[in-house]
């Protein structure tokens, strides 16, 4: 046990002289084992237990005389054992506080006597006797690091034969003790190996990470993290060298949010609190004052509840992100695209280690990845067009990507040519991709998707426990490589008997080099081999890693070529495999660049509509179906959509759309709805009469098909003619019926989207009213995913343009959930919600509810949103609120800083925001007090600055606002001085009559100032106004006339003054 005690036990390091055994888990388990050994020693080895130690073990005990019972002479505080050695010395002697013991039997007894103090006793004993073995058996047995010849020496003694009995016992004893030693060592080794040894680099990383949590605001996790020393040694440590020898790396002062600053020592053994090291010097401040933790985060978690709680949240936020992406993935693969520039190809080729590290970074709490809500919005192509900057970036990357790809491929092919067998029709000619359509190579539309580039290499398990399938597959691949056609076909058929849907098998095929062989087989002339190979590739290409590998090996090029084959089996198998592989962008591009789109479109050409089909025709239909499947996959790239159209795919798709078979319709409609993001397709869908078929299929009972149909209508119904067609084909009712499928969220999102877009036509709204759609929609306002909510609210917003519907929404209790949604963060949703709330607010009764729910304040705070669409939509919604709210002036004033906020929005560059804010200001200015406030905020010069616009919508609302703002103080004069009058006169030349009315009113107000009249007159206002006076619009008439009258009056006064 000597070795174990010197090596494994953790002695306090700081103090000199007699060491102390620290209370650490390692020591504790050591002590327990020694205790157990001692306790059982006398019963197990009675003879050895009686052996008298060379020197007694002496230590300071806490035992007292009263603890001892029979077998002992107790005289006062001292105790002597009955048992003596041959010279008559007692084997145990206690003269408090010191005790000396001569044999194991006595040690055992003490341990038994000491009961709950036993651990303390053992510890004290060991602390006092750093090398107990030496004392027990004599100094020659002292523990020496390295060699241990004590046993040998003993053996020699045994041979010499003197004191044979005695020596034999000694030998036994030492063997026993050494056994214990070994046992202790191995146990503590286990414990030690579990410990994490920290390194300076790891600590530094941790500190950096923690520093990133120190921020301002409520969400911060820590207040500050600081090193005590700024100097870093070359080995990465920041402690003084004489502390580095103790393994200490650095000292930190971390201030958590909720407790006192923590003084922490990071050492190789772990991190712990110290006595408060600020400056070097104070010796005892280095001592450990807490348990040892394996890293900083664990320590902080246990010391700061606030930290523990928040760090967990961060962990959670990052981890939870993944599944949601997965879900969206099904239809909306396009999601991540815009935010994320393409990664270069080389990137994914990096080794597993690198990958793992990246994942680690991602999983670290507080990673930078941001959540983007409702990606659906982008995907539809209805939102703003994509960023140009992003596009450029992707171009740049595409270049390097291509370069790397080419090189990689050359290498791959070359590798394979070595392994391919002579005599076999090998196809190892290097395929140089490209040379086709130079510009085509670059720039992929950013609306398309890139799936799971990250997860492409997940396998980290070692080769130790490969499943039996692996070896069987390896054997089959060997036969594939070395067999003639017959053997190859047998091996292929046998391979298909494995569960190819299972990842182990898929990856096994790849890992034993099976993919290369399978793809090479496609280049041979043997139809059977090709079919067999495709049947396998078709299955395993459901795995994303396999897809990439197939693309990397040039499999797509070969499969595209196979599409020309006269054999129908080959055609449809190749098409189906392409459909699986072309799930990521690079693959889709490869298909297009090698003429795959055109060939796939050609596959669609068959006669599907006859009811009874011959065997051959059935195969044609299967070929067409797989062609559609492949096009569906490919159609996620914008350029491919265009290529499909150019290849004449639209009329063929239109024909297949009449097919009675669901399995044909799903890929066809899937392709159509994917392509419907393009205007050309939307027009074609409308003009080729596809709406009718889409509507017809809304009535089928396949949810997936229904979803794609609804989604296609959703995208196409932006167009008025299409909306009318949907109504005429009686598609509105099935849409409403589909709302009952509330469990299928994708279907629900598509359906509500279609209803929303169809509701833009008032005739459709009337129909929906008949079908009681709004009642159902209101029910969908709660507990729905955002992509559904966006559409539901959008539909309600459109529906609420009709007064009757506004009442319906109120009666169904829709106002409250709508107002609640104003607190959301999804911008697409906010645009729709504000619109809906605004539409509802035009009804007095609704307004009362909105007011009660403090909806106007919520709308107002949305003016602070970063997105101009939200700002504008909120400002528009505010207008009817101010108009219809009771005491609206008072209400508006109650929003602290609200008026300043809205006036400042006049600095926006977005026309829609400006128009909406002008409209709102016109409403606000009706209240005199508020008008005074906004005048103070400088509304007049800001409005005047906007007057040069040519946008009629803005002109109209701007003129309204100016008309209203003239009502206060010297604002009229100020407008004139700011040069607002002349531009306003020009508004009268606008073609928009609503601009005329507002402008005439503004001019009428301004004409009350003589200088303005002069300006107007100089700009030829009279002639224009005379025309307006003839208008049928009475308001316009009156304003124009009033203005002319004012000008005339001034002229008269002038004449009078002049002539007298």
């Amino acid at each position: 046990m000597g070795v174990a005690l010197t090596r494994a036990a953790q002695w306090t390091t700081a103090s000199s002289g007699t060491g102390k055994l620290e209370i650490t888990p390692v020591n504790e388990s050591l002590l327990k084992e020694i205790l157990e050994f001692v306790e059982q020693f006398s019963s197990r080895h009675p003879q050895e237990a009686k052996h008298v130690f060379k020197e007694p073990l002496q230590w300071t005990t806490s035992l007292e005389a009263s603890d001892f019972k029979t077998e002992y002479d107790i005289s006062g505080p001292t105790v002597k054992s009955h048992e003596t050695d041959k010279d008559g010395h007692p084997m145990l002697q206690l003269t408090p506080p010191s005790i000396s013991v001569h044999s194991f039997s006595q040690l055992s007894k003490i341990v038994q006597l000491a009961t709950d103090k036993r651990l303390k006793e053992v510890r004290a004993c060991l602390e006092a006797n750093r090398d107990p073995v030496a004392k027990m058996l004599g100094p020659s047995f002292a523990t020496v690091e390295g060699e241990d010849s004590s046993v040998l020496r003993l053996l020699e003694k045994v041979k010499e034969g003197d004191q044979a009995k005695e020596t034999e016992i000694k030998v036994k004893l030492i063997i026993l003790l050494q056994q214990l030693d070994t046992q202790l060592l191995s146990n503590s080794l286990k414990l030690i190996s579990q410990e994490v040894r920290l390194s300076p680099a790891a600590v530094k990383n941790d500190v950096e990470l923690l520093k990133s949590f120190c921020s301002e605001g409520e969400k911060r996790v820590l207040t500050s993290v600081q090193y005590t020393s700024d100097y870093e040694f070359t080995n990465g440590c920041r402690t003084p060298p004489w502390r580095q020898v103790h393994g200490e790396i650095c000292y930190l002062v971390i201030k958590p949010c909720d407790t006192q600053p923590l003084h922490i020592t990071c050492s190789t053994a772990g991190v712990f609190l110290n006595g408060g090291i600020r400056q070097e010097g104070e010796e005892n401040s280095y001592d450990r004052t807490s348990d040892v933790y394996k890293d900083l985060v664990t320590l902080l978690k246990s010391k700061s509840p606030h930290f523990a709680e928040n760090i967990n949240k961060q962990d959670f936020a990052v981890q939870e992100e993944l599944p949601t992406q997965k879900v969206q993935h099904v239809e909306l693969v396009d999601a991540e695209e815009q935010g994320q520039p393409q990664r270069s190809y080389e990137h994914q080729e990096k080794n597993v280690h690198e990958k793992a590290r990246q994942q680690l970074v991602q999983n670290k709490p507080g990673g930078k990845k941001k959540l983007e809500p409702s990606l659906k919005w982008k995907n539809l192509g209805l939102a703003s067009p994509y960023d140009e900057a992003d596009d450029k970036k992707s171009k740049k990357n595409a270049v390097s990507e291509r370069f790397a790809e080419t090189q990689e491929k050359m290498q791959k092919k070359a590798d394979f040519s070595v392994s391919s067998l002579p005599g076999r029709q090998s196809s190892d000619k290097t395929k140089t991709p490209g040379g086709v359509g130079g510009a085509d190579d670059f720039s992929e539309s950013s609306s398309e998707s890139e799936e799971d580039e990250e997860q492409s290499e997940r396998r980290t398990e070692s080769n130790t426990d490969l499943p039996s399938e692996y070896w069987q597959i390896q054997k089959l691949v060997k036969y594939l490589k070395g067999g003639n056609q017959t053997a190859t076909v047998i091996a292929l058929c046998s391979m298909r008997d494995f569960n190819l849907a299972q990842e182990t098998c898929q990856l096994a095929i790849r890992d034993v080099g099976g993919l290369e062989v399978l793809i090479n087989l496609l280049d041979t002339e043997e139809i059977k081999c090709k079919i067999g190979s495709l049947k396998i590739l078709k299955e395993i290409s459901r795995n994303s890693q396999i897809r990439r590998a197939i693309a990397d090996l040039g499999g797509l090029q070969t499969m595209v070529k196979i599409l020309d084959s006269p054999d129908k089996d080959l055609k449809y198998l190749a098409a189906e495999t392409i459909a699986n592989v072309a799930k990521f962008r690079r693959a889709r591009r490869t298909v297009r660049q090698h003429g795959g789109i055109k060939r796939l479109v050609e596959l669609l050409d068959c006669v599907p509509d006859s009811a009874a089909l011959t065997e051959e025709q059935e195969k044609d239909v299967e070929v067409a179906r797989c062609g559609a499947l492949a096009l569906w996959s490919c159609s996620k790239s914008t350029r491919n959509k265009e290529a499909i159209r150019k290849a004449g795919g639209i009329p063929l798709l239109a024909r297949l759309l009449k097919s009675p078979h669901e399995n044909m319709l799903i890929p066809v409609v899937g392709t159509l709805q994917e392509c419907a993001s393009e205007r050309s397709y939307r027009i074609a869908i409308q003009t080729e009469g596809m709406i009718e078929d889409l509507v017809k299929n809304l009535n089928c009972d396949n949810h997936e098909l229904q979803m794609h149909c609804a989604s296609a209508i959703f995208k196409c119904a932006e167009d008025k003619r299409t909306r009318d067609l949907v109504r005429q084909c009686e598609g509105l009712q099935p849409l409403v019926t589909l709302l009952s499928q509330a469990d299928n969220k994708q279907l629900l999102a598509a359906t509500t989207g279609a209803i929303w877009k169809c509701s833009i036509s008032m005739e459709n709204v009337a129909k929906f009213q008949d079908y009681k759609a709004l009642e159902t929609l209101v029910g969908l306002l709660t507990d729905q995913p955002e992509e559904v909510l966006v559409n539901v609210v959008g539909a309600l917003g459109e529906g609420a343009q009709k007064p009757a519907n506004r009442a319906t929404i109120r009666k169904c209790g829709g106002i409250q959930p709508l107002v609640n949604l104003l607190t959301g963060t999804n911008q697409a949703l906010l645009v729709n919600v504000t619109k809906a709330v605004g539409a509802c607010a035009t009804e007095l009764e609704n307004m009362t509810i909105i007011d009660r729910l403090d909806g106007v304040r919520l709308l107002w705070s949305l003016l602070k949103n970063q997105n101009p669409d939200v700002q504008a939509s909120a400002a528009w919604a505010i207008c009817p609120c101010i108009e219809n709210a009771k005491d609206s002036g008072e209400m508006v004033r109650s929003f602290v800083g609200g008026l300043e906020l809205i006036v400042n929005l006049l600095k926006s560059t977005n026309k829609e925001v400006l128009a909406s804010v002008c409209a709102a200001i016109a409403k606000i200015a009706k209240d005199e007090e508020n008008l005074a406030v906004i005048t103070d905020h400088g509304v007049v010069p800001m409005l005047a600055k906007l007057t040069n616009t040519t946008d009629d919508k803005l002109r109209r609302h701007l003129a309204e606002a100016i008309a209203r703002c003239c009502m206060w103080g010297s604002n009229r004069v100020l407008f004139g001085e700011a040069g607002a009058v002349a531009p306003l006169v020009r508004y009268l030349k606008s073609k928009d009559s609503s601009v005329h009315q507002a402008t005439a009113q503004a001019l009428f107000q301004l004409s009350k100032d003589p200088n303005n009249c002069i300006t107007m007159h100089d700009n030829g206002v009279v002639k224009l106004l005379l025309g307006m006076m003839g208008s049928t619009d009475e308001v316009l008439q009156e304003a124009a006339a009033g203005c002319v009258a004012n000008i005339r009056r001034l002229a008269l006064a002038n004449e009078k003054a002049r002539y007298g």
Partner: protein, 214 residues
């Protein structure tokens, strides 16, 4: 000579008519073309005795040159399958019947035909030994391997595992038929004994169009 060929033509036409009624996949004109081709192939075979036809050598030449077959044993078996009366000659009737399956056979006919080809001893079963025999040249032998036949044996086991549904270690016709129906690729499991689409097309073009034009 002209009389002779006129009579000959008459004869051929009659024969074609009868044969085209007996054989499924050829019409009369096609049968006639095939007969002409047969006669052409027979060529100047010295002794034109009745019942004679193409001998083994000639037939194997056709299989090799026209249909690209290479395996000697399989070609022998194909000859046997054509030569239904076992007289070592393929008669004109056997020729047309054989080609009917060879070129245009249905899956059922082909299964039957292939089974006959593979059942080397004609006992109605394809035994382990027969399989081994037919597959023995199907793998490239690695000189490093201890037992060069190991791969073949394994291949036989794989095939049995896949096709031997009643687990009697040999393939009955029922086993074979079921396996092929499940997976058409297994039709020619033990060696190529049917022409591929390309050579069929080439042969038919040669036989039906070129012969007519002549």
């Amino acid at each position: 000579m002209a009389e002779m060929s006129a009579m000959n033509r008459k004869l051929i036409q009659n024969l074609a008519e009868t044969l085209s009624k007996q054989v499924k996949h050829f019409n009369k004109t096609e049968a006639e073309c095939l007969i002409r081709l047969f006669n052409g192939l027979l060529g100047d075979q010295s002794d034109r005795r009745v019942g004679n036809g193409l001998d083994r050598g000639k037939f194997r030449n056709i299989l090799h040159n026209t249909f690209g077959m290479t395996d000697d044993m399989i070609m022998d078996r194909v000859f046997r399958a054509f030569d239904k009366d076992n007289d070592s000659y393929v008669s004109v009737k056997e020729w047309i019947e054989g080609l009917s399956i060879f070129l245009r056979g249905t899956l059922d006919e082909k299964i039957k035909y292939c089974f006959d080809v593979y059942d080397l001893n004609g006992d109605g079963y394809i035994s382990r030994e027969e399989m081994f025999h037919m597959l023995k040249n199907s793998l490239i032998r690695q000189p490093t391997e201890e037992d060069p036949d190991e791969g073949i044996k394994d291949l036989v086991e794989i095939t049995l595992k896949k096709m031997d549904h009643d687990h009697d270690s040999r393939l009955s016709y029922a086993d074979f038929e079921k396996a092929v129906r499940d997976e058409n690729l297994l039709l020619e499991a033990f060696g190529t004994c049917l022409p591929d689409a390309k050579s069929i097309l080439a042969f038919e073009q040669h036989a039906f169009q070129d012969t007519l034009e002549r």
